[in-house]
Amino acid sequence: MRKVVIFAAVALLAVCLAPAMAWSAPKEIKIGVIYPLSGGAAAAGRELRAGAELAADIANGLIPGVNMTMAKNAGIKSLGGAKIKLIFKDHQGNPQLGADLAKKLILDDKVVGILGCYHSSVTKTVSAVAERYGIPMINGSSTSPDLTKRGFKWFWRTTPHDKWFTKDLFEFLSGLSKGKVRGVKAVPKDQISRLAAACEKTEWGSHVAIEIASFAKEYGFTLAANILYASKSPDLSSEVQSLIAAKPAAMLFASYTSDAILMIKTLKSMKAKPKIIWGQDAGFDKPEFVALGDDVVGILTRSVFLPSVTKMKPLAGQVNALFIKKMGHDLDGASARAFTGLQTWVHVLEKAGSTDPKAIQKACNTITIPGKELVVPWVGIKFSTKGDEIGQNVLGGGLIGQYQKKGGKVVLEVVYPFDIATADMIFPLKGY
């Protein structure tokens, strides 16, 4: 009888305390994350997901000892220690599916905001849905310049866009002709002035093609071929033939993962001999691409994060080590930007102190995150609120890296900006 009474008392106590405990327990803040987790860009999706998850784990206090503000709060301090919960969705590179998933996240899952979507074409439709419903969306990794030219009130982008990156490329090429590149004597401009570009033909790639054409003209380079191709194409031999026929000194690419790999394999099979190969990040910055081994040595890629950045930023080294523990390889441009995107969400929520969309909107428009908090080598994050690029981070910056072989391993070394170059550039490319 006594046991029954004790049991009943404990049960009663538990019943009475349960609601109070539930009430005092930190709330969850749901962020919808839409990435390409399957399809041609699945490799990128895996990196993006891991980057966002790592940032959430750090923000939620699951990984102690990281030297950044969000790691010290164990949740969103201004919201009573509420934890970040990520709800992942796979858009498969399909803009219509992305829009449907955005509606689901907003209306069914009641997310506070959205992070995504990598493909600029999907970001375009998803941000249009977010705009219609007045839900904040932070974009960390879509680089089509048009995205921040639409005057949207609920869309913010942390990454620099392709106009900046393409300008970096032409600054680099000009620097090459002026002897500014570490380890390379000035190359006469006429030896590198003939260019050929092949870009995948969705929103992102077609924009890169436009930017390349525009900057080539501005910087006095000759664009002998400017090809658009389908990233899902199973054969790129006719595109590569056209590139080779243009006899360029430099071949420029905007490719997703599977097509970037196919492009290099096809260049090799056709024994292409350009002096420079440059890729606009994306596929050129993925572990699967690096797995091509010696075939990628000497290739340039723009990025916002290279492992050699860790030599300059101890914080980047700390986070990179955690990422290696999680994934078995270094952070790359995609994962570092996904990390930064989610980190921006955490800072914004902290500043807003509320999950009300209007408060978040205000926080986004006024926030400044210093560069010392970030893993990417940017001055910081501050979104433009006027002019023709509303919602664009104005403190970002890009890098150009080159694959080099060090100790039997293929690594990316910084070659641009010139003042932070970490190795001598290999020039010219030995060709295939």
Binding site: A42, Q96, D100, R132, T202, L228, A230
Partner: protein, 334 residues
């Protein structure tokens, strides 16, 4: 007059089918007021869109037996006409819809005339080629936005019936449901029409049909143009629903194949086939993706399962799901 009477004459259909159809219609009419998630609503809209695509495909592919794998080009023409007229000339949806239909039908005559000189696989390959060529042209044509496509801006306050711009999806659902019912009634009339019978005769044996005085070439062109009108109308709707179109989205080979697949899997050549196909494949694709697509370590599993189920149905009954229904019915009669 007889054509209208035929269109509303469902008396030749089995009673069981009519009861199921009536219940399904009641469900569709009431769906927006029943408890549902927004994802379910988006899936229902996709279902109605693919039903209409499939109904169009079925006219030429099912009743006519001409496997058309290039329907996406007409989706694109409808979508781009509406978007361009809306963006550049501020033309409301209801005016741009018939313009899109007319352009698509004209294009179908231009394409159809030489294409129907071909037969069987050659015809199927030619439809793929024409669709891909048109897509390639659109991808490099700056006037239509090139590969980046077009984005339709919001026109004033929502809901906007003139420009078909709504915040809540149930408006789109009812507009599409109305189009679906018109389409269904048209297909029913088509079944009983002279052209419908001629097409079925051509499908069974083209030489015999010709010997009976049927102009097979002209019949196919007419059916192809009618099928085109269906998909172009949905294309126009798609532009307004999605606010954004690009060639990869509305003119891709994937879309053409999906349209044909749904109709074939449901049962080509039957009135309900494309609807059954869409009712199975659209929710399956959406919910498998939602269930498995975002789960860690399960990337791509939804697509594997989706493919496996399609292969299973095709292996059990090559005539599609409606073929299974007919086989069961025949067995019961015996």
């Amino acid at each position: 007059m007889e054509a209208i009477r035929n269109a509303f004459d469902f008396t030749d259909l089995p009673r069981g089918e009519m009861i199921i159809a009536a219940l399904a219609l009641l469900f569709l009419l009431l769906f927006p007021v029943l408890p549902h998630s927004s994802f379910a609503m988006a899936t229902m809209i996709q279902f109605l869109m693919f039903s209409l695509y499939g109904m169009g495909w079925n006219l030429i592919g099912g009743y006519g037996g001409q496997v058309d794998l290039g329907k996406a080009q007409y989706v694109g023409i409808g979508a781009y006409t509406t978007a361009l007229l809306m963006i550049r000339l501020d033309v409301p949806f209801w005016y741009s819809l018939p313009v899109g239909l007319a352009l698509a039908v004209i294009w179908s005559f231009i394409i159809g005339y030489p294409l129907f000189r071909l037969k069987g696989h050659y015809f199927a390959i030619a439809t793929i080629a024409t669709s891909l060529v048109l897509k390639d042209i659109f991808e490099v044509w700056n006037f239509v936005g090139g590969a980046r496509g077009l984005e339709i801006p919001l026109k004033g306050n929502l809901p906007n019936w003139l420009y078909l711009q709504f915040k809540q999806d149930y408006y789109y659902f009812y507009v599409l449901l109305a189009m679906f019912l018109v389409g269904l009634i048209y297909v029913n009339g088509f079944r009983h029409s002279r052209l419908g019978f001629q097409l079925r005769a051509i499908k069974d044996n083209e030489n015999v049909a010709r010997s009976l005085g049927i102009d097979a070439h002209w019949c196919k062109i007419k059916a192809y143009a009618t099928a085109t009108a269906f998909v172009a109308a949905v294309g126009s709707f798609h532009a307004c629903y999605n606010f954004n179109i690009e060639p990869e989205d509305v003119m891709s080979l994937d879309l053409s194949v999906l349209i044909a697949l749904m109709a074939m899997l449901g049962g080509a050549g039957s009135m309900w086939g494309p609807i059954i196909g869409a009712a199975i494949l659209v929710p399956m694709k959406s919910y498998l993706g939602d269930w498995l697509g975002g789960k860690a370590g399960m990337a791509g599993m939804d697509l594997l399962l989706y493919g496996a189920i399609i292969m299973f149905i095709a292996a059990v009954q090559p005539r599609g799901v409606y073929g299974i229904v007919e086989a069961l019915r025949a067995r019961r009669r015996r």
